[in-house]
């Protein structure tokens, strides 16, 4: 067991866990932040997507020991994030969600996309969202909501 100092959504946190513990489970079980979801554990579905040092990252395959001083941002911070809030509002206005389980990850990927590419084309959207599975199949509305959010961002 090792103790790690993390910065999560701007707040300093300290956890004592096995160094191999994936960030996903540190968030969910040690920090009780369950908005980030477990879907596959092998970075194949994107449900666990967070921003690590500003980059959309699958937290299920990042051991806590490799995080270092990179800040961690999760879905719980999106309501206070200028892009995150616009994306969430677009998701709500398009009634995107169905079961909703993948949507934390979808929104984290969409926010990362819009921060780097404020006016994405369909090709950009497919590239950035291409690893986020939605079993309900809400992709059509995800696409539309990203475009709406993009129009509303400067």
């Amino acid at each position: 067991m090792e103790t790690y100092k993390l910065t999560v959504n701007g707040q300093p946190k300290e956890v004592t866990v096995d160094p191999g513990t994936p960030l996903l489970w540190v968030l969910r079980e040690d920090l009780k932040m369950t908005g980030t979801k477990y879907g596959c554990g092998i970075a194949a579905c994107g449900a666990c997507t967070v921003h690590l040092g500003g980059v959309a990252t699958r937290s299920c395959v990042v051991p806590v020991s490799l995080i270092g001083d990179r800040p961690i941002v999760t879905i719980e911070a999106m309501a206070e994030d200028p892009v995150g809030r616009v994306v969430q509002d677009a998701w709500v206005s398009h009634d995107v969600v169905q079961c909703g389980y993948c949507q934390s990850g979808q929104i984290m990927s969409a926010v990362a996309l819009l921060k780097s590419t404020p006016k994405p084309t369909d090709t950009h959207i497919e590239a950035s969202m291409g690893g986020n599975l939605c079993r309900c199949g809400t992709y059509v509305r995800i696409r539309e909501a990203i475009k709406t959010a993009s129009q509303q961002l400067p």
């Binding site: 191999g20 092998i42 709500v92 169905q98 909703g100 389980y101 934390s104 199949g137 059509v140 696409r143």
Partner: protein, 733 residues
């Protein structure tokens, strides 16, 4: 799925239900629906159980602050009932929609599906079965509020009107529902009540957004997997590598060295045995499971093997099975010249549901009672299973319905195997809550798949180009064999869920014979969103398309000509789809093709046109126009959502890695790398949905989007490549 035990159904219909109202301590109103339990108990010669009290019986609660809590009698797992059912009740009640809160009901008799007789989601029945129920609940609640106001004002109830949680009197009086609640609770419950004329609906029939959107966008909604209880432990189970196998011996010493691991022990499973690991958290539990050294006894169980099954199934398909339907003279096929016959053999693999939220159940066993949390499509069955394992009566198990991350049938399991596993572990951990988590690997490898199937169809074509005679054999495991559902669903040795969509086709085929073989295979199988329609619609709609092509007839016109006159919903959907897709179908870019399919399931008629090209040897689905006749559309926005997304779900069976296969008894895929559902690039880019206007009773929309998409796509591919695609998955085009 299509039906439920008749006995339970008949039982329920013979029972009366009635409303009771009571005041909350704080002055609010509680409206409960009671079943006439004493009458039932009398019939069974048992002592009458005590009447139930809130909370499990309530459907509506008006709080003093004006909030209106409406209880949803079934699981929300994406289909939208958490919004649509409250809409129906709130509309008849004239509640202020902005003040409505929805909650999922725990397991209780009053929340049983009014048609199926058990608490469940299945057969796309949520709205179809509870529309009238929720209307009456809302109308009766409104009537009592009006009666209370009328009494206060000394006017006739008929002189009052209601709007947005306020009763208005004839002299300009008004009173808020919250203020009237206590007096309303003293009013007698009306035996009958006038329901609104549909023209008076304020919410029903309108595009109303989901109530659960925001909480699903900010991470705050709690799914079953998110549950956290004080002192809770996490369990994972090492399941046998071949279904039903047993542990011979195991070494847990390395596993027990993992920090946070509390116990390791062997447990019985529904079939075979496994080894449970209990830890403080998930990660140590999984680490420890990976370190277990288990010697399995694989000798006593059949080692299913896909290659051998294909061979066996294809042989079976050449002989007639148990007859599902037969009319006319099928031997007329033999009078048709070989050039005018189609002989087609189809193959469909096992499919996993793979809902995004891995399966899980949490249970705390306290000796004389227990509490359970699960995202369950079968609350009645799962509650009883937990009780049985724990030696309790069902009512001693408080069963909370957790919001679920998808399901598609996977949470509607007759043997409740996940809940039983959790209960066995909870029994051992008495007093400590334990959350059983199935990892994605457990899910992909754990069985309960859409069964694999072979179809063989022989068609004799008449000189007009229409089918003259049709002989069809379907081979696949019965989903309901060995379950209580078999008594209802299996007739003449045919599992209706295996032949639905073919045996009951809406096409008018004069000489028609459908039969089925149901081999027993050591692979657990289950209903997968739209069940038998997944493969039957594919076969029927690709064959009809082939016939239309051979007849050099437009595929829409051909279908219209062949449909029975009484196939009204399909005809309406076909007409609307033709109209709405006309502009793009006639102006397709080069190297694109249009594919058509139509299919009715769960009493909902659906027709679609798809615009497809080929990119990297894969179908690229540019556009889908869907028309649907679901009867009266309760929430057109939800219906649009279900169809836009449901067609993407249906693409699962076209994915190159859209198959579960077995070799020597072992499942060859482990996770989403081996079994790969559609991502955004695989799904249709755009889907426009058109609803046939209707005043008929509402029918389901959860499953009907699925059957049409895959045949429509391969019908388009056939135009581009000249090939007919009869074997899934679609590895390359």
């Amino acid at each position: 799925m299509t039906a439920a035990p008749n006995s339970a159904n008949d039982l329920l219909l013979s029972r009366r239900s009635f409303l009771r109202v009571s005041a909350t301590l704080a002055g609010g109103l509680i409206v409960s629906l009671y079943r006439d339990i004493p009458l039932l108990a009398q019939e069974g010669g048992q002592a009458a159980p005590k009447p139930k009290v809130y909370p499990p019986d309530a459907f509506v609660q008006i709080k003093p602050d004006g909030k209106i809590l409406i209880t949803v009698n079934r699981l929300e797992f994406g289909q939208g009932v958490h919004t649509s059912l409250p809409m129906i009740l709130a509309d008849e009640m004239d509640a202020d929609w902005s003040q409505v809160i929805a909650e999922l009901a725990p397991a209780a008799d009053v929340y049983r599906d009014p048609v199926y007789g058990m608490q469940m989601v299945g057969g796309s029945g949520s709205i179809a079965h509870s529309f009238q129920q929720y209307r009456e609940l809302g109308a009766k609640t409104r009537a009592m509020l009006v009666a209370a106001a009328a009494a206060q004002w000394n006017v006739a109830p008929a002189q009052c009107r209601t709007e947005a949680s306020v009763v208005h009197g004839p002299g300009g009086q008004s009173a808020r529902y919250a203020a009237l609640a206590e007096a309303a609770a003293q009013q007698p419950v009306p035996a009958t009540v006038q329901l609104k004329d549909p023209s008076q609906f304020r919410l029903v029939g309108k595009r109303v957004r989901r109530l659960d959107s925001r909480s699903k966008c900010d991470g705050s909604v709690k799914f079953g997997l998110d549950l956290d209880l004080p002192g809770m432990k996490t369990a994972v189970v090492a399941h046998p590598p071949v279904f039903g196998a047993r542990v011979k011996s195991f070494d847990d010493k390395p596993a027990r060295t993992v920090a946070g691991v509390r116990d390791v022990f062997e447990i019985p499973l529904v079939k075979g045995t496994g080894v449970a690991v209990i830890a403080d958290k998930f990660w140590p539990a999984k680490q420890a499971r990976d370190l277990l050294q288990i010697d399995w006894d694989l000798s006593a169980v059949e080692h299913a093997d896909s290659a051998q099954l294909w061979s066996h199934y294809k042989t079976l398909a050449r002989t007639p099975g148990n007859v599902a339907v037969s009319h006319g003279d099928q031997t007329k096929i033999d009078t048709v010249a070989a050039a005018n016959r189609i002989i087609a053999e189809y193959a469909f693999p096992y499919l996993a549901h793979a809902p995004m939220e891995p399966l899980n159940t949490t249970i705390r066993f306290d000796g004389d009672r227990a509490e359970a949390w699960a995202g369950s499509q079968f609350q009645t069955v799962d509650q009883a299973a937990i009780a049985e394992v724990l030696g309790l009566k069902p009512e001693q198990v408080t069963f909370h319905t957790a919001m679920a991350g998808g399901g598609f049938g996977r949470r509607a399991v007759a043997d409740s195997h996940v809940q039983r596993e959790a209960a066995v572990i909870a029994k051992r951990l008495r007093g400590t809550p334990v959350k059983l988590i199935w990892t994605r690997e457990d899910d992909v490898q754990g069985g309960y798949y859409r069964p694999m199937h072979v179809h063989r169809a022989e068609i004799g074509i008449s000189p007009s180009g229409m089918p003259l005679a049709w002989r069809h054999v379907i081979v696949g495991q019965s989903i309901v064999a060995g379950t209580p559902f078999a008594a209802i669903i299996v007739k003449n040795g045919v599992d209706a869920t295996a032949v639905e969509g073919t045996a009951d086709t809406h096409y008018d085929i004069p000489n028609f014979h459908v039969s089925a073989h149901h081999p027993a295979v050591n692979v657990p199988v289950l209903w997968w969103r739209s069940v038998g329609h997944t493969h039957n619609a594919f076969v029927m709609e690709t064959l009809i398309d082939e016939l239309a092509t051979r007849a050099k007839t437009d595929p829409i016109a051909y279908r219209r000509q062949l449909l029975k006159p009484d196939a009204k919903k399909l005809r309406a959907a076909l007409d609307l789809m033709e109209e709405k897709s006309a502009s793009w179908r006639t102006t397709l870019p080069k190297d694109h093709a249009v594919g058509i399919a139509c299919h009715e399931s769960f009493e909902t008629g659906v027709a679609c046109a798809v615009d497809v090209s080929i990119e990297n040897k894969r179908p690229r689905i540019h556009r889908v126009t869907v028309a649907v006749d679901p009867g009266f559309a309760v929430n057109p926005l939800t219906i649009e959502s279900q169809f836009q997304a449901g067609v993407a779900f249906g693409v699962t069976q076209l994915m190159s890695k859209g198959a579960i296969t077995l070799k020597d008894g072992r499942v060859e895929q482990r996770n989403f790398d081996g079994y790969t559902p559609p991502y955004i690039v695989d799904a249709p880019v755009a889907v426009d949905v058109h609803i046939v206007p209707s005043t008929e009773a509402p029918s389901g929309c959860g499953e009907p989007p699925v059957p049409v998409i895959s045949p429509a796509v391969v019908n388009a591919l056939a135009k581009l490549t000249g090939k007919r695609y009869r074997s899934l998955p679609l590895v390359t085009v």
